[in-house]
Amino acid sequence: MNNGKLANITPFSADGVEITIAGDVVHFGGVISMRNPSDTVTPFLRKIHDAVVASAMKSITVNITKLRFMNSSSIRSLVDWVEWIRAEPEAKRYVLQFLMNPNVTWQTTTLSAIQVLGGDSVVVRAGT
């Protein structure tokens, strides 16, 4: 898989959250409860989106099993990500595959709502 552009992205770390990339998996850890994620988290996710599109990848995995909490302002960042995919021409679209912890209720409920929004662009499955 050609994901070289993804590998060049520097990990994100601020205000209790870490977002790292290993291969074609984006790992979220900690707590995302910042006041303005649109200034920090959203642009970082946009870099990932641009790299995935440039690499012609057909899917990327987002592992949130180690994420303890996410506020609604940060859920907006994920909503934006889904909308960026949907705004791409069909040939450039890819699938966001979320890995969540089924024992953490908010992960299940939040991702089920995002899946409804994203349709075929979003897959949710239990991870470890």
């Binding site: 409860s33 506020n71 302002s73 859920i75 907006r76 909503v79 953490v104």
Partner: protein, 158 residues
Amino acid sequence: MTPEKALDQNRLVHLRFRPLWLYLDQVRDFCGFFARASFDSDQLGERVGIIVHELVENAVRYGDDQELEVTLERRADEILVCVANTTTDERAGKLRALVAEMARQSPGEAYAAAMRLAATLPKTESGLGLPRIRYEGRVDLEVETTPGRVSVTARGTA
């Protein structure tokens, strides 16, 4: 037992503090802990954490920076979270109207609609907090206003 005493025994948490973002994570975890311990339910602890976080976040964003109260009560098999803060009457009226409008849809429909709308809002807004409380917190919301003050009560089965 007096009604006041009975009320006190239902109360798990009562906090009053200046509404600063700095306190948000601690208040969420603190209230979540009390709900989890009182009902012996991790799931309820998470739900209360979401409810408290989103209500306090709104109070910090849209309040007047003066005073905020959080109350968590257990009533039989019900959980009740109340967040009250000082604010302008205009803000309080907008919140009341927003909650009334949202109540016309089921929690799932309102959350899905808010998700669709979110990406069209200014980047500093999400519009997801209150719909999320109803859907993920599994509670009904009520708003009460008095001059210069608004309180939002979230009530649901524990």
